[in-house]
Symmetry: C2
Amino acid sequence: MNNVILKTAYRLLNHGPTVLITSAHNGKRNTMAAAWVCALDFDPPKITAVIDRKTYTRELMEAEGTFAINIPCVAQLDMVRKVGTTTGRDFADTDKFAKFGIETFAAQHITAPLVSGCVGWLECRIIPEPHIQSSYDLFVAEVVAAYADERVFSDGRWHFEGYDDLRTIHHVASGEFFVSGVAVKSAI
Amino acid sequence: MNNVILKTAYRLLNHGPTVLITSAHNGKRNTMAAAWVCALDFDPPKITAVIDRKTYTRELMEAEGTFAINIPCVAQLDMVRKVGTTTGRDFADTDKFAKFGIETFAAQHITAPLVSGCVGWLECRIIPEPHIQSSYDLFVAEVVAAYADERVFSDGRWHFEGYDDLRTIHHVASGEFFVSGVAVKSAI
């Protein structure tokens, strides 16, 4: 795992991967899958994330003011689907991490856990924008730290050749995903 | 080309393709490439788009109040790169479409031209949100019509098997793109 230079952190999201959002507050933690997360600015890096108001992840992230974006890979497909089709509110005495055997490690600047086995991570601090949060479930956040698996992301770009199990996934519908495919370069 | 049922229009963008934004106003028209376009809501469908304040595309779309999202395919790679690395302001007597030989056809509800050879199209009406437009270059829009190439998108989902030239592209950096890859399905 390598630090990603902050001004290139947008590159982690540029190709549109489906992600896991994690959040934690007062000893409670949760995670959900999200396809609607997007880069917003370069330096300082900002992102947008659409997080439904009914989600437990949102309750914790709004209370704490921070959250993490974890970029899963194709080896984690079933876990992503489990996380994306259940609510942490249903697990009274445990949480999704324990329930589904999801290992985590500590973030540097925020309380949200980071999911082991992912290929990229962004620690995010919410920039309060109450109107769009309440009108559209749309959050703006500053990325305060970012990391990536150096086997597939270095010098500010993804390179999955030789690591097919670490390719990012892109949700189509109903549990079907496209895997990030071959790299092509324009002639210009 | 098929109409896409509006409540499934978000599926055109769910997997994170790089797109072309088109806009037109008072007889002028332009297009730019954009990677930071994202679904925002299902029904009525809404999207977000990050459009730099310096772009000519934005000048025209703000004046008109509408714009289109065109989803290009790998066969159009060089055209996307040309469009993404030039400004329409440099073409005094012509425009990017004429300069680069880009064919278009008329939209149904808006003035922006739609780019021929793309695999998906969304006609968008800006929902004015002056604060986030000026603070973040972030636009919210409602999708008023959507279409797709029926060879690769039908019944609300992409299916590229047998049409490798029509696969969507996802910008990595500096003219390198990932092509949408194989479809995988979770076991859950």
